[in-house]
């Protein structure tokens, strides 16, 4: 049963939106831009996932292991998508703090693949080149993907060094890293096996996605 929430589109930035039960709108006045209520449709057309099926039971928020540190709970984030609050969603910490543990997806009574929605929203944020609220996380994704496409298999030491460069966190976990090296838990040199295959896949995927 698809249920769709519409809110009034206004040009006047001083009009405060009505507070609803699972309100996601901050106290200060929020301007809802014309044309933004189709955010849910954009997500659906890109990923095939329908957030408008959500009836706000909050099961996802209660099961989420990282909701304690999010600025909006997963339930609130879905509500914000339904309302078309694009800026709020794309600038939230929540999208970068999702651990992709799939608990929400598993438990949703409406079968909304919320972990998949998070993937979609994250990639929209990256395409729009929006500065992430938790910059370390996209830096980690970026360095991992570069790593995989270069070496074919994950080269952990290279990943750690690249992440340190990107996030300027040079001293973090040094002791732990050295202990791991001593225990032989990190390979010093990368393996280039499979590198040709991953490079081909990365470039072909890029070509297909561009179309």
């Amino acid at each position: 049963m698809a249920h769709r929430t519409y809110i009034r589109v206004t040009e006047d930035p001083t009009i405060e939106c009505v507070r609803l039960r699972y309100m996601v709108i901050p106290k200060e006045p929020v301007q809802v831009h014309r044309g933004f209520t189709d955010f849910a449709d954009i997500i659906k057309s890109l990923s095939g996932l329908d957030v408008n099926l959500c009836f706000q039971c909050a099961k996802c928020a209660s099961g989420c292991p990282v909701s304690y540190t999010m600025d909006y709970t997963p339930t609130q984030l879905v509500h914000a998508i339904q309302l078309g609050l694009t800026d709020l969603v794309l600038n939230s910490k929540t999208i970068w703090l999702c651990a992709s543990c799939q608990t929400c997806t598993t438990r949703c009574p409406q079968d909304v693949d919320l972990a998949g929605v998070m993937d979609a929203v994250r990639s929209i944020a990256q395409r729009k080149k929006i500065k992430a609220k938790i910059p370390e996380v996209p830096a980690f994704y970026r360095s991992s993907l570069i790593n995989i496409s270069l070496f074919g298999r994950m080269y952990e030491l290279g990943l750690i060094l690249m992440l340190k460069l990107l996030t300027r966190s040079f001293t973090k976990d040094i002791g732990l890293g050295l202990r791991m090296l001593r225990k032989g838990k990190l390979n010093i040199f990368p393996s280039f096996r499979g590198a040709l295959a991953t490079r081909r896949i990365f470039s072909q995927v890029k070509a297909v996605e561009k179309k």
């Binding site: 890109l46 990923s47 095939g48 292991p65 990282v66 540190t69 703090l97 651990a99 992709s100 543990c101 799939q102 608990t103 997806t105 598993t106 693949d113 998070m118 993937d119 994250r122 990639s123 395409r127 938790i134 370390e136 996380v137 996209p138 980690f140 994704y141 970026r142 991992s144 993907l145 995989i148 074919g152 298999r153 994950m154 952990e156 990943l159 750690i160 992440l163 996030t167 973090k172 976990d173 732990l176 202990r179 791991m180 225990k183 032989g184 838990k185 990190l186 390979n187 393996s191 096996r193 499979g194 590198a195 295959a197 991953t198 896949i201 990365f202 072909q204 995927v205 297909v208 996605e209």
Partner: protein
């Protein structure tokens, strides 16, 4: 029985002990694992997190399955839950979404990958016939040992994709360990998240979530946590000291792979099973409880 074997990146680096012990155990059980030489990374979390259509993630996973299919295999064993989950999701999404199916054809030419069956070793070992075999191979009794089994997030979730055991309270690892004569305890954190890849970015999250898991294991009186995931193992093991420092607690809980515990029962030496790679020592506890049968 002969299966294609996809170790995944972790089992060649941070989780060599999982790789070694799995091979040793399979050897005893008469299961042959054939590693296909030119496998590559399944894309793991980063590939699906930043791809809106899921094409990159699906292509990396299905590309690997295509290699195995080319080598003549129909069934593949995947010990890393993250890889397992990526393979299962890719197969599920391609079957479900016509658009993805069309797009993937442009990247992966061989279309036969869809017939391949993906298994986690827990699924193979917990079959009735294997359980009987496992019981018969026990050389060293671990009767005094009390453990909790920890599956992590991705092995069972989401159930329609993973099709692995009971989603919220799986029991396959328990069945295997009980066949060894090890006491398994009920607890509440079997499929809770350890913080996964936040280890490198938001370590505070990993410390909190892993602390909850360690606390849960301690409160039911477990001697060690038995795991099936390289990332869970590393978060719970190498960060344990840091967790103890941060939360003012004292656990010293060894984190073992289920294959290592099986190996110990089968009479393999700690050296063969690379027990020395763990940060929290398990050998002392094992010496205390074990008796040679």
């Amino acid at each position: 029985m002969r299966y294609a074997y996809y170790p995944g990146c972790s089992l060649h680096t941070t989780a060599k002990e999982y790789d070694h012990s799995l091979h040793a155990v399979c050897n005893r059980l008469g299961i042959e694992l054939a590693e296909i030489k030119n496998w590559f990374c399944c894309g793991s979390t980063p590939a699906h997190c930043v791809s809106v259509t899921g094409l990159l993630s699906a292509a990396l996973s299905l590309g690997n399955l295509a290699i195995m299919r080319e080598s003549g295999f129909q069934e593949v064993i995947v010990p890393c839950p993250s890889c397992f989950s990526r393979f299962k999701s890719a197969l599920y999404n391609v079957a479900k979404e016509p658009r993805l199916r069309e797009e993937i054809k442009k990247v992966i030419k061989d279309g036969w990958y869809s017939s391949i069956k993906v298994y986690h070793p827990l699924q193979i070992f917990s079959e009735e016939s294997q359980l009987a075999k496992i019981s018969s191979l026990v050389k060293r009794e671990l009767a005094g040992l009390k453990v909790v089994c920890y599956y992590g997030c991705l092995l069972t979730r989401p159930p329609k994709v993973a099709q692995f055991d009971i989603c919220e309270y799986p029991e396959s690892m328990e069945r295997i360990l009980r066949a060894l004569g090890v006491a398994t305890l009920d607890w509440s954190y079997k499929t809770d998240c350890c913080g996964a890849s936040f280890a490198l970015t938001r370590t505070d999250i990993v410390l909190k979530l892993s602390h909850d898991i360690l606390e849960g294991a301690k409160s039911v009186g477990a001697d060690m946590i038995v795991v099936a995931c390289p990332l869970c193992q590393i978060n719970l093991d190498i960060r344990q000291e840091e967790i103890e420092r941060t939360y003012g607690t004292d656990y010293k809980l060894p984190i073992l792979y289920f294959t290592q515990l099986m190996g110990i029962s089968f009479g393999l030496s700690p050296r063969e099973l690379l027990l020395g790679k763990h940060f929290v020592d398990a050998t002392r506890k094992l010496e205390e409880v074990s008796r040679h049968a």
